[in-house]
Amino acid sequence: MLVTERERLREEITALADRHGRQRSALIPILQEIQRGHLQISDYAMQVVADLLDIHPVEVFSVVSFYSFLDEKPKGRFIIRLCRTISCDMAGKAAVARQLENDLGIGFGETTPCGRFTLEWANCIGMCDQGPALLVNDQVHARVTPEKVHEILAACRRVFGIYAQEQKEEHAV
């Protein structure tokens, strides 16, 4: 990481810590915002958080490693979490899983080389009456079929089209 990037990250986290308060109970909200913004909580970020909250970096690592929605390794821009618990399992999650793997070219627990998609298993996401269900980031999709997998991914990819363009325009300015 470049020094300037580090400085920027530190400033950003400092602002978060000031907003949430510099106490231990602010730890998870701060980490969630870092995760959202950076798709990971890097080792440097963990150390900055630890420093600001006056705890040890290993304690931050310990917390990050405990929760499924926090990760020290970079995730894709879209994290697809397919529920594998019993009701979704019985409703046909296996076919959806296979199709996700086919369409993304990765297995569960992996991220596409372009960094756009991460595929993960989830434990019960509370959509048992409408399984198979999956989450794309915060959004829930119910009664997913192998055919619908393509639509869901296509919708995500469209976002990238616009996103990529927006970035290009930004650079042109």
Binding site: R24, F66, Y67, F69, I86, N123, I125, C128, D129, Q130
Partner: protein
């Protein structure tokens, strides 16, 4: 596509905030008295009497107390809290406000599981409206000196945080590892302060009870399980969804309602609950009989019960907090035992050993998660021995 079935008729019939207005006219003791009179027990699964919990918290000294709404609905097969928060968030926040007034809390926290992040904007909107209408903030509803507000904190993906002390640990910025009890949260909770933790549904019912009275609540249900219960029913049935039933309803009646005439077994209480074979469908949904926090999963004739056990154990192996020995290692050994069974390589002696291990896990684990994690395995072994033993595995051919 069919709209999901959500039957929350009683909640829908309530007048907005009538319960809160009624509560604010009462003394704290009278509110708790009303709750106690209703006989309501916690709807999250553990079934602790709400009146007793509130009374313990109200009796503690100190001005800094908390009311926490446990919206970390993670039990497999449970989705009723999602439905309640979608349709009747006002009722839940009303219940929290009543609780705060009764125990003397100034701050409320809704701990919302990360998987329900999509509910947050609408919940924040409800809170904003309530603040604008003076149902939250300084001098709630004009009640001088009663200041109370609610914030939402998101979970970060851990089933165990549904356990109240793990939830508190998580709120404090720690790993969601259950604490030793005693002390209980009612005197040593969030940040060491007295804290009441109640389930979403419980708080909604509290608002109803204050509106309609404890006696009204008791008109339904059984002696030991008063009132109505919101159930989430899924699995092999024609009409899965969220239903309202009086406690005491039989499993057979549920199956009839959701359209599962030919069920092989029903899982009552989710992964941590018990599996009932068809011979036990006459049993009643109640704390004293077939207890559930709301999860009912129906298994059709075609289901392999060993696969069901494997799915649940996989869940616990991952979702155990990893703190205590019986739960952390016990579930891993049970899962391996299921593998042996599915390969047809498990002796009766070892199966009995695993069942004894399950009993140890029930008795010696640190928290409710560990204590209930072997339930599904034990009940499947108990009722489906012939199905799960002596398998001829594909590999052995």
């Amino acid at each position: 596509m069919n709209e999901p079935i959500v039957n929350l008729a009683t909640f829908a019939a309530m007048s907005p905030d009538a319960g809160l207005r009624a509560a604010l006219q009462k003394s704290r003791a009278d509110i708790i008295g009303e709750i106690s009179a209703s006989g309501i027990k916690g709807r999250g699964g553990a079934g602790f009497p709400v009146g007793v919990k509130w009374n313990l918290c109200a009796a503690t000294r100190g001005t800094q107390k908390y009311v926490v709404c446990n919206a970390d609905e993670g039990e497999p097969g449970t989705f009723k809290d999602r439905a309640i928060l979608r349709a009747h968030a006002n009722l839940v926040f009303e219940g929290m406000t009543i609780g705060a007034f009764a125990v003397g809390a100034r701050e409320g926290i809704l701990y919302l599981r990360a998987e329900y992040t999509y509910l947050r904007p609408e919940l924040e909107a409800v809170l904003a409206k309530r603040r604008a209408a003076k149902f939250l903030g300084e001098n709630v509803c004009g009640k001088q000196g009663f200041n109370f507000d609610i914030r939402i904190q998101l979970g970060a993906g851990a089933y165990v945080c549904g356990e109240e002390t793990a939830l508190i640990e998580s709120l404090e910025g720690h790993r969601g590892e259950p604490r030793n009890r005693p002390p209980f949260p009612v005197d040593t909770g969030f940040l060491g302060r007295p804290t009441v933790v109640n389930n979403v549904e419980t708080l909604a019912w509290v608002a109803c009870i204050l509106q309609k009275g404890g006696a009204w609540f008791k008109t339904t249900g059984t002696d030991k399980s008063t009132g109505l219960k919101i159930l989430s029913i899924s699995g092999d049935c024609a009409r899965p969804g969220v239903y309202e039933f009086p406690f005491g309803v039989t499993v057979a009646k549920l199956l009839e309602t959701v359209g599962a005439p030919d069920a092989k077994a029903v899982q009552i209480g989710g992964a941590s609950g018990h599996c009932l074979p068809s011979s036990e469908f006459g049993r009643a949904i109640a704390y004293e009989d077939a207890a559930t926090g709301g999860s009912i999963i129906v298994f059709g004739q075609q289901r392999d019960m060993l696969e069901v056990a494997a799915n649940f154990l996989e869940f616990f192996v991952e979702e155990s907090c990893g703190q205590c020995t019986p739960c952390r290692i016990g579930n891993a050994r049970l899962r391996e035992g299921v593998e042996l069974l599915s390969e047809g390589r498990c002796s009766m002696r070892y199966l009995q050993e695993l069942c004894a291990l399950g009993e140890t896990m029930q008795a010696a684990s640190k928290c409710g998660l560990g204590q209930s994690s072997p339930n599904a395995f034990l009940s499947i072994v108990k009722h489906f021995k012939d199905e799960i033993m002596g398998r001829v595995s594909v590999a052995s051919h």
